[in-house]
Symmetry: D2
Amino acid sequence: MNEVFAPRDPLFAERVRASFARQTLMATLGASLARVEPGEVDILLPHAPGILQQHGFVHGGAVTSIADSAAGYATLTLAPVGTGILTVEFKINLLAPAKAARLVACGRVVRPGRTLTVAQTEVFGLDPDGSRVQVALLTATMMALEGKAGVVD
Amino acid sequence: MNEVFAPRDPLFAERVRASFARQTLMATLGASLARVEPGEVDILLPHAPGILQQHGFVHGGAVTSIADSAAGYATLTLAPVGTGILTVEFKINLLAPAKAARLVACGRVVRPGRTLTVAQTEVFGLDPDGSRVQVALLTATMMALEGKAGVVD
Amino acid sequence: MNEVFAPRDPLFAERVRASFARQTLMATLGASLARVEPGEVDILLPHAPGILQQHGFVHGGAVTSIADSAAGYATLTLAPVGTGILTVEFKINLLAPAKAARLVACGRVVRPGRTLTVAQTEVFGLDPDGSRVQVALLTATMMALEGKAGVVD
Amino acid sequence: MNEVFAPRDPLFAERVRASFARQTLMATLGASLARVEPGEVDILLPHAPGILQQHGFVHGGAVTSIADSAAGYATLTLAPVGTGILTVEFKINLLAPAKAARLVACGRVVRPGRTLTVAQTEVFGLDPDGSRVQVALLTATMMALEGKAGVVD
């Protein structure tokens, strides 16, 4: 179902990894970059005591943070060198409580564009017994900025 | 423009504060509860080195986290005792980079309902010189759960 | 990727067709029901002079109307007898101008629930030469009402 | 609360009226342009037999159509001559059944931008007895295109 995308920067994965490393929120949450392919990025987040909401599930804001970053970095894999990616807007449906041992946010580009790209992220809960439950679905509009000082990935 | 809402629990503010204190993500981000009124809740978040995205602005996920919590707690102020509030979904537009010294997320109920409530949060950047720039606009659908063990605020 | 869903009403397709026939907006736009399967409904809309926006494309509101109905009827295929389905909210990204000869809105249930269901619709433009371009992507939250007079599908 | 906006085209109202007249969907639905001010546009839609959903309310797609157009034309009031406005995406919450005698969609610009503008529309039901109920809340991202043949308002 997914199109195959050709990255315009052969070093796209290095660029994504370097930019991700500068997102200090990801380290604060305990998130890590798991997979970087053209148009697709996965981010992992283990359940941890400091990222919860009031009922003991992972906070929707933490789920959203990795979902947003996965969508943004999926977009960055296809962007030319010298571009910065900013999130214009997104919508997220929280489908089930995030109570699994680990979450994985799988971002992918739905519609690439020179200025605007639409990307979608599915977040799943993964448990040691192999079960996998969809926790969230995010749809985002990403904007590519070129030649803007300080806003380059 | 805002309707005046009558809370059904006279101790609504205490309940909101107690529930907020259990959201460990808020402490991890450095967010605090600033104002709790019937149908309205404000949350503060100072700019801090551990909550940034790759260009040095506060990460959209952190902005979203306080916006979501402000909308959820605005909803909780109007809910009867024994209810738990869960976020069904939201959409957020990131209107400007979050580079101010502090952010304030002002959540308010737009349409209260027995099961579903629509709430909106405006997030502003506040600088020491008194300037105030809108950074984000979130619209959320919140769901009230009653009598569900472990999901009570 | 799609789950297989079991409808709770064996006559689900007749019920969807009867309800669709009562949506007078569909006839006014020229839309018709093309496919009704458990959890999936397709609606067709030919390009027509009376449903356009100012540049001669099919109006985003017409695209949205069939996308919303497709998501709602995909939800209805799985609902028990005596239920009415109402749209709580949706978000739509308009990915390309709707200039094709015909549009098809393919709605499917993402997450069924007793009260709330999340559904998604992809709208494609179809041309006589066989080309197919995605025009829109909608994510909706649908609510099932039971025993509410006048609101039964 | 609303900012005051200065239109860049003194003939903005004529331009909006001429563009609206080309939206054939508006005539098909029975919608008319009621008010055009800098950054704000109202569209009226009377309840009519040909625009309903299955329970006899105005179809969410018709509500959305006028809400989308009101947001787009609010954006156009502030755009320079030679620009075309396209809807990138929107989210709408349907807050109450649209059963009033008339609907009015009040669109206003929240955040103007050279390329992207965020606009919001509130839709109200109006009854002969003077009652006014909010029916929907839409948030949209609009894109300005310049110098694109055939896409000028």
